[in-house]
Every structure is written in structure tokens, then in C-alpha cells.
Point group: D5
């Protein structure tokens, strides 16, 4: 089941650079693990911003909550979620 | 080059049902033609709405304008566009 | 799987009273059928408005889309959807 | 008398982890006490967020204020309240 | 139990003047009946607008819905509701 | 001359509890003094919030500014003001 | 007593040109009468818009309501009102 | 050439009182100098707020930027600018 | 003197196609005349929309108002204006 | 390929003046380097603000992201991006 998740990172300016780098590294590893597991199907940068557009493929709402709330950057992000489903005009078999 | 395009359809309530059906049929054909051409890469319905989330793959801004402004439903839609690019944490070769 | 759905009805003022009554009657029947089927779990009126707060219990996003987009009042409503899941502090077994 | 209450938690990033854990534990206990007393009828997590959707069942506005303003997380939450009442299409006896 | 209700009237410009006058007259009579019954405790015009600020005194949310949704101008108003209760610093006995 | 004033208190989380208690006590005394003087005619808590709805009765805009800007909590509040006047449908002699 | 009033005109596109010209002529006459009477102290066009910024000088809120609600364009305008008073840094004697 | 400038002051709560008083004194002197020079034509307090409505009379956009960005409170204000010009219904010779 | 002007066209869906074509043709001619006169310095389409971003070069606010309010599409557009001036980091001689 | 980029600088008030000056100097140098390279085609100050309106000319979305995210002030700015393309009414050869 697919969800579009849009994330905007807002790190507090006073966070030490090392701490920020550490969180970002953990975030990257976690994100790539979920991508390899097929849970985080797409991940794009929004050009000119510190935001991304993502497509998650999960079992249900509970799994979405589990994956998203465990993001290392979760406390520092504004997140918008939209549930997706097959569009009647889509010709792609795997877009649902 | 990728763009996220979010479209919300707002047909005027007074539009005759036949006219609406006609526009929607043309829209579907046009949309599937662009999908087959690889220009409209993803198309999802946002559940519980008359909206979609789409990913376009175009040569440049001008082609995006040409494709979107020729949508038969263009005069009846609210449209939001975000330019996308490769995310440094992405592991998918074709997400850029 | 649960979703909160908030609906606000905006009937065009020029709609004939009979037509409005007809749509509302069909909406009521459809709504009660979904309630009896266990799909529309809760339905409350927001006091002082022509809005409701609803809880849907569906198989997946696709079923949510099917049920909501078939509402007779669908073309006349503003609809906001939020995916829900079990809260770690909840003590109710059936709130998930 | 029912109210929908939507709460979004915004803990200041600089709050020590122990202090945050302490407040959350007190919040959980308080919340479960109100649930057992039948005052906090439903409590759901909004998937992909640090927000919840709740249904309170109280005597009157004054009791709502008392219960909500005593939440340990109250100073750290954005809260939206909507008064609810029976919907004419509802078939559930206890949804009012 | 008190509620603040803010109403803004938006009559469609194409409504015939007679029809508008008729609705406003019915609204006035209905409003004054509720004021005499003690249900509509205060009614002020917001200067420079076609809006009012009102205080309703009702048994519960259901009565608020009944009174407000029966306003003759209800289909033509934007309405915002806030549940009120006694303020701990108030010195007026009847402001609760 | 009447004004509706809506105030939402936003104390900085890092303010020491004693300092907050001190300001609130001064605020309460000041508020009750204005109520006794007939300047602060109504004061209600908005249920489920740290906000109030107030009705001020002042000589003119200048007095409103003097009274409101001297509130001890003034630097910590979001404040919205609406000028009120007699509503043509009001039956209360003192609501103007 | 001064008020800033911002007005944006939104004439319905289907209004016949003659009817629009008639309303505008009446509006102009009414506006100039109030200016000559010293009630409408300033009137500026916001460049690039069909909006104005105005300063009214009235006895009280009731007079503001009377003057503004009698504007011939009143049913076709969005209006925002702010009560003004003397600024402690002002050096102009008549700006209050 | 006239501009409406609306300024809302948001001093950080942690700024020492002396520092705040110092900035405000400099601001007042600077403001009165510009008023005497005829550049800052009007200055009103918005009643019930820490905001003002101002009318600037400058040579061009560049002078507006120079005057406004040199305000001692500039880093602590939200500022909205609207270019003004003569209104065709104005009867005041100097309102342009 | 430069202004950024953003225009979004919203033609009423019920406008006859011929009438729309006529207005657009007049708009195009008018726009190109202003471009040739050096008044409308830049004109870009926002990709994926019926909006443009424009840079006007005018004598003063009054000329901006005259040029913009005479646009044939003026009654059908949402328009946002920002006064521009030379940026201290700009290296282009003509960007002011 | 052109993009409109609007940037608003929000430096934290507690940043030491030297640190701020340092970032601004680096920003200026970086900005002028991009202007000389033809990548940052226009740069205007919005009068009365700490904002700019810019036109970037880049190869694609990825280059836009690279240039913008490397701005020294990037962590302290709110940034809005709009993809631009040739307008059918433009007469300037280089506005595309």
C-alpha cells in the first residue's frame, strides 16, 4: 500500500555541526536500509530546498507510523502524508 | 528531468454530465499516451479525493508547460509543481 | 485499517430543493449501508456546521477511495483524510 | 457530550531526554486513567506524525477544559477542538 | 453552557432583492425569539462588515447544532464555533 | 464602545515556573481591577486551550490600546481585535 | 477616532457593464461626500490592484459600520478594518 | 511617491530590558527625524497590538528600502509593503 | 523603477471560447506594445500553470497602476506586486 | 533553463554580529561568482524587506539544487522556487 510522504528538515541553527552530521549519517543508513527492503520505494530531493518527496510501500497505516516515527530526523521534520491508490488511468502495473 | 505535479479536479457543478464524461475520456487517452511515451512516469490517485500525484519526466521546463497546459482538464484543475532531482541517499538508479 | 475523514458539504445555492433532498436521501441510505457493513465505524455531526467527522474501517487505501468517491455528495464536499493507527497509550482493543 | 480533540506534540529540541521521558510517562498514565473513567473515549495516532485524534466524553465545556488543560504535555501541544453531536444518519446508539 | 459563534453572511449577488429581504426578516424574527428565550445571549455586529459575534447559552452541543442549523441564513453563512467556559479570573457570576 | 479581544497565551517553555506564576498573578489582579471598573465587560476561557474571549468597553481606540498593552502577559500573547457595535436584531439594551 | 479600512472590489464577471458603471458612479459620489464631510480622511489606490487603503475618522464603531455598510460597492468588497490610535513616536498633531 | 508600510514588532522574550529600551529609543529618534524630513508622512498605532500603520513618501523604491532597512527595529519586525497612488475618487490634493 | 508582478489568469469556465480568444489576442497585443516601449521588461510563463512572472519598469507607482489596470485580462487575474530595487550584491548595471 | 527563486533571510537574533558579517561576505562573493558565470542571471532586492527575487539560468533541476543548497545563507533562508519558460507573448529572445 502506497503513501506519499513529504519531509522538510528544520535543524535548529544552534545544533553543533558534529551532532548534525551524526544524525544525517544515521538517517542515510536507515533510509537506504528501508529502500533495499522495498519499503521506501522512491526518494527525490525537491530542487532548491532541504525537502524530499518520498513514496512508501507498507503493509498498513501502523507500519507507516513505525517507519516514519523512527527516522533519526523525525523530531526535526515537518511531514505531510497522503494515502495513494491505483489511478484508473494508470498503465503501470506496479503503481498501486 | 523529473517534476512532481499534484492536480485537483474541480469541475463546475453545472457542467452537463455528457460534457464532463467527454472531457474525462479525452483526458484519459491523453494521459495514457504520455505514460506510454515515458513522459508521465507515475500517476497515483490520492485516496478519498478527486486529486492525483504525478511524476513527469521531461526535457525541460518548456516541455512540462506544453504537456500540462494541454491536459483536457487543465482549465478545471488546481495544479502544484515541484522540480525534483536525485536525492543523495537514493539507491535507485532511475530516480533522477 | 482506520481513517479519519472530515467532510464539509457545500451545495450550490442555486440547486433546486428537490434535487438537494434527493441527493441527501441517497447519501443517507448509502451511509447507513456502509455503517451496517462495519465500513463506516463512526459518524458525528460537528455542532454549528454542515460538516461531519467520520471514522472509516477499510481494507486499504483503494477501498477508502472506492467508498468515499461513491458518496452521492462527493462532488459537493470538501474532504480531509488522515490515516490512523493504534496509539501506544490506548487501552481500547478495537481502536486500531 | 462529545468533542473531537486533535493534539500535535511539539517538544522543544533542547529538552533533556530524561525530562521528556518523564513527561510522556505521566501523560500516558493520566491518559489511561481518563480512558478507564470513560472520559477519553477514543485515542488514535495519526500515522506519520506526532499527533493524535481523540474523542472526549464530558459533562460540559468546563470539564473539557479541566481535563485538557491538565494534560502533562499541554504546554507543548497545538490543540484543536470541535464540539460533536449525533448525526441524523448515524445508526450507532452510543455515538452521541 | 456557552459558545461563541461568529457568523459572516455571504448572499449570492444574483439573489433577487425580495428573496434576500424575506430571508433577513425571517432571520431577525428567529434571532429575537432565541434571544427572548435566553438561548442567544449576546449579538453584536462587527463594525465594517456583514458579520456578527454571538454568545449562545445552550443545554449541550446538540442544542447548539439545532439552533444554528435552523437559522434561515445558515446556507449562506461561514460560521466558526468556540466552546466557552468560566475563566478563573472572571468576577462575573453569570459568565459561565 | 465595545471590542471583542481574543488572546492566546504563549509562554516560552524555558521561563522559570516562579516567574510565570508571578506574571499570571499580576495579570489576574490587573484583569479583575479592569472588570470591577467596567472596562473588561466579559472574560471567558475557550475550552481546551490557553486562550480567552473578552469584551472590552472603552472610551475609544486609544483607551483600548492603553488597557491591552499594559496587560502583564501582553509580550507573550497573540491578540486579535474586532470593533463591535449594536446589531440591528439585538434586543438587549446594553449590548452596544 | 481613526480606522484603517482596506477594501478590495470583486465585481461578478457576469454583471452588465452599465450596471457596474452605475454602481461605481454612485460609489464615487458617496465617497466624495464623506471625504468632504471629513469622515473619509484618506483614500489611496493600491498600485496594480482593484483595492484601496483608506483612513476613516468617525465618532465611534457604530458610525464606522453605518458609513461602510452603506457603500454602494459594499456587497462586492472584501473589507479589513483596523482600529488606529496615536503612536507615541508620532509628531503630527492630527494623526489621532 | 507613497507606500503603506505595516510593521509588527516581535522582540525576543530573552532580550534584556535595557537593550530593548535602548533600541526603542533609537527607533523613536530615527522615526521622528524621518517624520520631520517629510519622508514618514503618517504613523499610527494599531490599537491592541505592538504594530503600526505608516505612510512613507519617498523618491523611489530604493529610498524606501534604505529608510526601512535602517530602522533600528528592522531585524525584529514583520513588515508588509504596499505601493500607493492617487485614487480617482480622492479629493485631497496631497494624497498622491 | 522596477516591480515584480505575478499574474494568474482565472477565466470563468462559462465564458464563450470566442470571447476568451478575443480578450487573449488584445492582451497579447497590449503586452507586446508595452514590451517594445520598455515598460514590460521581462515576461515569463510559470511552467505547469496559467500564470506569469513579469518585471515592469515604470516611472512611479501611478504608472504601474495605469499599465496593470488596463490589461484586458485585469478583471480575470489574481495579481501580486513587489517593489524591487538594486541588490547590493548585484553586478548587473541595468538591474535597478 | 530559468527558475525564479525568492529568498527571505531570517538570521537568528542571537547570532554574533561578526559571524553574521562573515556569512554575508561569503554569500556576496559566492553570489557574484555565480552572476559572472551566467548562472544567477538577475538579483533584485524586494524594497522594505530582507528578501530578494532572483532568476537562475541552469542546466537542469540538479544544478539548481547544487547552486542553491551551497548558498552560505541557505540554512537561514525561506526559499520558494518556480520553474519558468518562454511566454508566448514575450518578444525578448533571451527570456527563455
Amino acid at each position: 500500500m502506497l503513501f506519499q510522504v513529504e519531509m522538510t528538515v528544520k535543524l535548529p541553527p544552534e545544533m553543533p555541526a558534529e551532532r548534525a552530521a551524526e544524525i544525517k549519517a544515521t538517517e542515510k543508513a536507515y533510509s537506504q536500509e528501508l529502500q533495499r527492503a522495498g519499503k521506501w520505494r522512491h526518494l527525490w530531493r525537491v530542487a532548491g530546498s532541504y525537502s524530499n518527496v518520498s513514496i512508501f510501500d507498507v503493509e498498513d497505516n501502523a507500519e507507516l507510523q513505525e517507519l516514519v516515527s523512527n527516522l533519526p530526523l523525525f523530531p526535526y521534520m515537518e511531514i505531510r502524508v497522503k494515502p495513494l491508490c491505483r489511478h484508473p488511468s494508470s498503465i503501470r502495473d506496479d503503481d498501486s
